[in-house]
Symmetry: C2
Amino acid sequence: VSPTGKSTRSRIVEAARCLFWLNGYGLTTVNQILERAQANPGSFYHLFRTKENVLLTVLHNNTRLFVPMTVNPIFEKITNPIDRIFAILDVYRRNLVNSEFSCGCFIGKLALEIHDSQNHLHERIAHAFDNWTATIEQCFEQARHRIPQGLDLKTISTFVLTTMEGGVMLARTHKSIEPFDAALKNLWLYFELLQAQRAGEDEAKEEQQGRKAKRNSGRKANIKDPDTSPSQITNASNVGNDSASAAATS
Amino acid sequence: VSPTGKSTRSRIVEAARCLFWLNGYGLTTVNQILERAQANPGSFYHLFRTKENVLLTVLHNNTRLFVPMTVNPIFEKITNPIDRIFAILDVYRRNLVNSEFSCGCFIGKLALEIHDSQNHLHERIAHAFDNWTATIEQCFEQARHRIPQGLDLKTISTFVLTTMEGGVMLARTHKSIEPFDAALKNLWLYFELLQAQRAGEDEAKEEQQGRKAKRNSGRKANIKDPDTSPSQITNASNVGNDSASAAATS
């Protein structure tokens, strides 16, 4: 592929992505893509043959670039895993505000537009969603010690995605960031409560272990003052402070 | 309007609604609506003039019928306000499963499809969303004593809607009810934690009032055993049982 060819290719992909996002995939014609990309039909048919093939490339790029373009710059700046999640959500918030609510989430829009019968396209869209939630799950893995033991990290990562997609949808329609912020405020409160719940679990465990240790040391005939032991409990309740800073990010 | 005219009108509205839902508003043509409704162009132009006018009627009906058709039958059967919310969400769950994930939420699909510039349509869609969240808010009002004092009921009602819309979107794409259920499971856990939080608030208040009462009765030189007073605390912690039955509904 010559350098010129490569440039035509990326111009077509970028033009298509933009038109699909603004006007939908179904209503976008190949002619509109060519016009916007300043490309000729010959190179289009040589490079892609069909509009669907351009969509597949757009989807592939979207999935491929999410981690290096969106996630890595955030992870380099922020280490707190809960802050990381809210920083990722903030990318969508900024997109909404900066585009005056015309651009929300490219994948979400496609997910509802593409006809139900187009299984092969829905598979690619589902793959893009899975790629997104895998990053969120990675953050929760990092915060595993702050989340209640019994809570499956995959379901809560899915919940973060449904909150983002629902929030984008409502903000777009209301032409206001308010519903997005309302959803995020509740998501943040949920995280707070989960962390408090886990702190309680840890506290109960510590207490139980404390009692056991007391019994054991009692057997060794060396009984200590019970008030000196539960110093590690405060460790668990510190967790709340971390997520207070997460709220500032959102 | 003659009875025949009325029937043509409702046939057109029903056909349009179905086609908009399955294929999108933009891609549906007036001819397709006429064919499906078995109506002729003359009556269409007499009754609606444009495709947009049919959409406005569909949206108007959707908003107008939500309470009598969806909400009231649920409210007649179920009295627990949290159960009511999950029963409303269950309507979307059943729609997804019964349609093999082709039908999710008509309004949500439109919200992402309709072009950003169509302000007058987005206003109607926003109105439909507001109508939906007003019902949810009504349930939370009924459960006000179970929700933390400081939490705004409007934001949490919006959060219920973002969860439903996001859940529908992911279920549709994954062709599985799993992501919808994952989101609802977390929403339910959030409600549980909110109720536990409120029970804690009430308990602290009772304790404070108990101390005050003790001080007051102390002044009257008639000090009671402190263990006899906080009987009403259990009232607040009963709340957990109600929402356990809500989980069974979802």
